[in-house]
């Protein structure tokens, strides 16, 4: 276990921002889409984004960050900001993620895939965990303790970038939509 946070930082160093300063982006959430321009970005080094608390053997936790409110949802961003995240379960459990709380990520028709602690060893850059969020359309996480032993904490480590954006005028919007200006689409949710 000794190297887990060292691995997390290596993953963070290897992570590149999805867009650069001044880039145009099309933000797509589960309910809307709009054009923005990035005017500021900064890194978010690995940190504990969520601790769903103690969890008995062979149980699934409540979905974190719905009822617990803003104090428990450290993925939340300020207005006009979107985030680019990679993450992994820090303790030995399986996590299922929702964005926003009612929309499952990594969802097949009959199966929602989980992400285990071991992913930091198998996917050292955490590429397969990446997702984006818009403002405080918060992701929610369920923790599953599949073992026969209780856990005293279920912690999520997240890292990435936050991007502040500003609106674009109508003339620029027309240029983007006609293809005269490049634009990167940022999908901030799956579809319900």
């Amino acid at each position: 276990m000794a190297d887990v946070m060292l691995r997390a930082y290596k993953a963070a160093i290897a992570m590149e921002p999805i867009v650069a300063l001044e880039y145009y982006v099309k933000i797509k959430t589960y309910k809307a889409e709009f054009l923005r321009q990035v005017d500021y970005l900064e890194t978010l080094p690995p940190f504990q984004a969520l601790d769903l608390g103690a969890l008995a053997a062979q149980t699934v936790s409540a979905r974190g960050s719905i009822s617990a409110g803003a104090a428990n949802c450290l993925f939340d961003l300020q207005g006009d900001e979107f985030g680019q995240w990679r993450w992994f379960p820090y303790d030995i459990f399986m996590a299922r993620i929702f964005l926003p709380a009612g929309v499952a990520k990594h969802q097949l028709k009959f199966l929602q895939l989980g992400i285990e602690h071991d992913i930091i060893y198998r996917d050292p850059l955490l590429v397969t965990t990446e997702f984006n969020t818009w403002e405080d359309e918060r992701p929610a996480v369920e923790a599953m303790n599949y073992s026969d032993y209780p856990l005293l904490a279920t912690r999520i480590i997240a890292m990435g970038y936050r991007f502040h954006t500003v609106g674009v005028d109508k003339e620029t919007q027309n240029k983007i939509e006609s293809g005269a200006l490049p634009c990167t689409t940022i999908v901030c949710s799956g579809k319900a």
Partner: protein, 123 residues
């Protein structure tokens, strides 16, 4: 090559003296979990090295556990009299603690134990 200690994930507790007469009632914290109010996240730790000096306390058992009085949560280790007793990472189960780690000797008539633990701090 840098060591775990240099990376900052290994820390040592203080030298703690466990006096006679021993017993769970006088268990003492040998490593205190970091719980500063403004730290980000929950810290925990895993003992990686245990050094015990037996000061004429006679051969005895040393228990590691939680709380005062101590509640042992792994099998006690046998501490021989008048020698340095050392357990390293490969001798100790990976037991993670989210509260202060306490230790106590079983009944010893005289003498004392000096105990020091090195841990890997997580979180």
């Amino acid at each position: 090559m840098e060591t775990d200690f240099e990376r900052g994930v290994r820390r040592s507790g203080n030298v703690v003296n466990l006096p006679a007469p021993g017993g769970a009632a006088i268990a003492q914290a040998i490593f205190q979990v970091s719980n500063f109010a403004q730290q980000i996240g929950t810290k925990s730790f895993i003992p990686k090295k245990l050094l015990v000096r037996n000061n004429n306390g006679g051969n005895c058992w040393l228990s590691l556990g939680l709380g005062i009085p101590g509640v042992a949560n792994m099998p006690p280790v046998r501490v021989l009299n008048m020698v340095d007793n050392i357990w390293q990472e490969f001798d100790l189960p990976t037991q993670e603690y989210f509260a202060d780690l306490t230790a106590f000797a079983d009944a010893i008539v005289v003498g004392s134990l000096d105990v020091m633990v090195e841990v890997e701090e997580r979180g």
